[in-house]
Subunit: 206 residues, 2 copies
């Protein structure tokens, strides 16, 4: 979308605020009714904007989905940057996991991940878009684990593929589960997750 189509009278901060308002409304609608189920009309109603006003920001539902995918990509990059910090690898991975769970815990849009997962399983265009982002995160975690093998923090005998599968399963599953078990806070799970991570980074006896 070119900036030239935006109303000239609005300051950039106003533009950004309205864009944010639309994306928040869209996340809520997609979370409630799915990417296919939610209509542009519902997003307009939720954002309290007329279709004419909304279309000046996003020409289509696909453009909104692409903007959300881009936000998710930036969020994933921020998480990965956080993982690069100081301290033992297991602690860094768990810290990243807890941040991710905290960020996704909004009761109104927490269902979005389930919808993304549903799209990924159906291998739709939306699913493929989000699968690309996940592949990047997966690559970064894989690289961090391989790095840990070189520094002696990770048992070189572990099967990295299986460990990453379990780790992603645990992350996705907890994200869903914490939407339902709302009395459990992600930070409270940290000591348990750290112990799990420590056993995952050592090869189990056969």
């Amino acid at each position: 979308m070119s900036l030239s189509v935006l109303p000239e009278a609005e300051a950039p901060s106003g533009l950004e605020a309205r864009r944010r308002q639309i994306l928040n409304a869209a996340r809520l609608c997609f979370s409630r009714w799915g990417f296919h189920g939610a209509s542009m009309g519902q997003i307009c109603a939720e954002a309290r904007m007329s279709p004419g006003a909304l279309y000046r920001y996003f020409p289509s539902k696909d453009a909104i989905i692409e903007a959300i995918a881009n936000e998710e990509r930036l969020g994933a990059q921020a998480c990965m940057a956080e993982m690069e910090g100081e301290g033992p690898l297991a602690e860094r991975i768990v810290r990243t996991c807890v941040s991710y769970l905290e960020a996704a815990r909004d009761p109104e849009t927490g269902g979005l991940m389930v919808e993304i997962c549903s799209e990924s399983l159906r291998n739709t265009a939306v699913g493929q878009r989000f699968a690309e982002i996940e592949a990047t995160v997966r690559g970064a975690i894989r690289a961090a684990i391989m790095g840990g093998m070189r520094t002696g923090e990770v048992d070189p005998a572990i099967d990295v593929d299986k460990v990453v599968t379990i780790l992603f399963g645990l992350g996705d599953g907890l994200l869903m589960r914490l939407q339902m078990d709302r009395h459990v806070r992600p930070a409270e799970l940290q000591p348990y997750l750290l112990r799990i991570m420590n056993v995952l980074l050592k090869e189990p006896a056969q």
Copy 2:
């Protein structure tokens, strides 16, 4: 549904086979398009039956969903019965988890759990129906862990709620994940899951 509306000429085995055929088709359609998205017409097409023939078995989509919920309930009971067997508690829980993952690994209907989860998050009637089944399974696992405290297999200091949340998160997440990472077989994860279960049943140092 009363048996009296079924065609008298068919033998019970034939009736059961047709019912199975409809439920398999419905699982596939719900998995692909969601409980709301899938239509009776799509289910008829997938089952290769006319609407008239299908309606003699199930008068509505709700009746089909109820039959699937009932199958899930029976499946959950069978899983729980398996957990009651011999051996250390952690091994029994992991064995149950792996059986559940193996059973749900059908590529065509594996998405059904994601759709059920989506319904549960939206707290729809379908979601509530499946949430009841899950509450039973959760109660059984909770009881098994409390039993383990009495026999000394489980550290009495653990927070059972958090352990059960992590366990269910891991189960649901792996179920989704193994649909996508199709090269990983549930049984291969067993040694990792057993080590995870062992640390979960001991209170982590604060």
